[in-house]
Point group: C2
Chain length 343, copies 2
């Protein structure tokens, strides 16, 4: 795994240097495959196998407002599947209209990333799914409340037994997260760029191919590589020029290690054209501006308008195509013993 990643880095850097040297050749599908890899159909986790029963339950729970204290906020509230898995806000609204500190990243393809949250404080979507449910600024529930609500609804009890057949007490907070994560592991979105990687060279326009070249030659693939086009490493935001507005200490808040100040997980760029606003605080709405900011902050490059536009043209090829439509669940009714909403 480490060897593969190192190899990839060398390839990426080699590609970058090669292209920066002015040859200007097109990144062909095979080279793209080397840099980015092939999108799987499901982001498997051997510790939490993706089964149809678990996915069905997880989908219900993903839309389940009763996982929140107020019974008004679900996973889908901030990671809306009709909005490419994000919410279009700079930072999200939680319990009693509290604004969160960071922009909600898209849930689409999130399961592919090597860590979760902007600061990587959760190792996978199983661990991530628990966070917002009990965060007092987000869904503001407690583990106990969640389990009590679900145990009070016979259809859920049955669904947990089906999804976790070996489990003596399947309706648990861990299994809430396991089921939601299993559902999220299916939320992968092939794009036209994946068809290109698969060898369909004609699927991209000349402008888009040029954009891919620019993306690679500028050096974006130093960080935005792998199957998520990002989501594979931590990086300091502002390794060359720290943006003035950047206050969030990022991963330092988790590790308290000075070297982690302003360090964030490199976000996946899949669906980036559909998921403005950008950056950890959602302060930038223009993708072109975001691209310029990153090139200057990370690579010390002042991109021309045409370079930035060219990269944006490529980034549009990373949008889900066709768009992901998830047939929504039918949620079961509460029973008389279901703990009431607490707005």
């Amino acid at each position: 795994m480490i060897v593969r990643r190192l190899l990839l880095c060398v390839l990426v850097l080699a590609n970058g240097c090669f292209l920066r040297s002015g040859f200007g050749q097109t990144i062909d599908p095979d080279q793209a495959k080397q840099i980015f890899g092939i999108l799987p159909q499901v982001a498997e986790n051997p510790q939490n196998p993706v089964t149809p029963e678990k996915v069905a339950l997880g989908k219900s729970l993903y839309f389940e407002r009763r996982l929140s204290k107020s019974s008004s906020i679900s996973c889908n509230s901030c990671h809306d599947l009709t909005m490419a898995g994000a919410d279009g806000l700079s930072t999200s609204l939680g319990y009693r209209w509290q604004l969160g500190p960071r922009n909600a990243p898209t849930v689409l393809n999130a399961a592919l990333e090597f860590a979760q949250f902007w600061d990587g404080r959760a190792k996978d979507v199983e661990e991530q799914a628990k966070g917002p449910i009990v965060n007092p600024k987000e869904m503001a529930a407690t583990k106990e409340l969640v389990v009590q609500r679900l145990k009070s609804i016979p259809e859920y009890v049955e669904a947990f037994h089906k999804a976790f057949p070996g489990d003596k007490d399947p309706v648990s907070f861990d299994n809430v997260a396991n089921a939601i994560a299993a559902f999220e592991r299916t939320l992968l979105t092939p794009s036209r760029f994946d068809q290109y990687i698969a060898g369909n060279s004609g699927i991209l326009t000349e402008q888009e191919k040029q954009g891919l070249n620019t993306f690679v030659s500028v050096g974006c693939t130093t960080c935005h590589n792998g199957v998520g086009v990002g989501g594979g490493s931590f990086q300091k935001f502002g390794v060359i020029h720290k943006p003035d507005w950047l206050k969030d200490l990022g991963r330092y808040e988790v590790t308290k290690n000075d070297a982690d100040k302003y360090v964030f997980k490199v976000p996946s760029l899949r669906n980036v054209a559909l998921t403005a606003p950008y950056f950890n605080d959602g302060s930038v709405w223009s993708l072109e501006e975001a691209v310029k900011t990153m090139a200057f902050a990370q690579l010390g490059r002042k991109l021309s308008d045409s370079e930035a536009k060219s990269i944006v043209t490529f980034l549009h090829t990373l949008s889900a195509d066709p768009g992901l439509v998830v047939s929504p669940p039918i949620l079961p009714a509460s029973s008389l013993s279901t703990p009431k909403p607490m707005p």
Copy 2:
């Protein structure tokens, strides 16, 4: 129309008296059809014809948070299609976490009702759809903001042109409501009881048929008749015994007519078993308790536990079967000129 309604009333009352007199005969499918009628496939409105283009646009707008000032609240926030078209709260949460004064009724089959809102202040779903969008306690937008947001998104401009082909300036607040209403006119939910009405006598269990008899013989069909099993008239809540807790003056707030104090639209009972809590303020969570309260308030009847349970058994046959699953839209991205969220 009036003659038909009068005839229906006579029939209903006759049925009621007949059954109350102790014969205890089963309400057969033909009698049920006389009392309730046949659920249409679409709730048509000649003034706003239901077309595929309008429904497609209306579905997008129904899920569209950008119709709200904060860009965080959509129609679906309070009338959630995964929750039988309601939100499971006593009263709904709006802009800046404001609690509304009345319980959000289900959107399912709402288009069939003779008036909209608890107090009937809108005549149809076309008029209703505008209310929450500009209500400062709900979505808190303005007509101008809504139109500006939609006009800034090319996919919406195109969709409005397709949905309203005769219209020179189709992206209008009226057409937002017309499109949402056209979508809502398709949200009708056949139930097992509709199969019974259609002549499939075996679809209901003996207990359910007994429940139907109780429902009719107690006199519930005096108000809860017609294709919505309600939704066809205004009635004073507490015509015999006004509930102590009832403070809301209902339709009086619209008409300022003393006779309209505590008068509300009779709610449709379709999907009632899925849409707790009950009454104008969502104060009652038990359907059995709601049934008892209504029988005492409206008919002066103190129902026994077994009578109330029997009616509840019948009411469960009014739940959507199969449950309604609406394939969600894929919402277009904002453009740089889209007015930003204002949380």
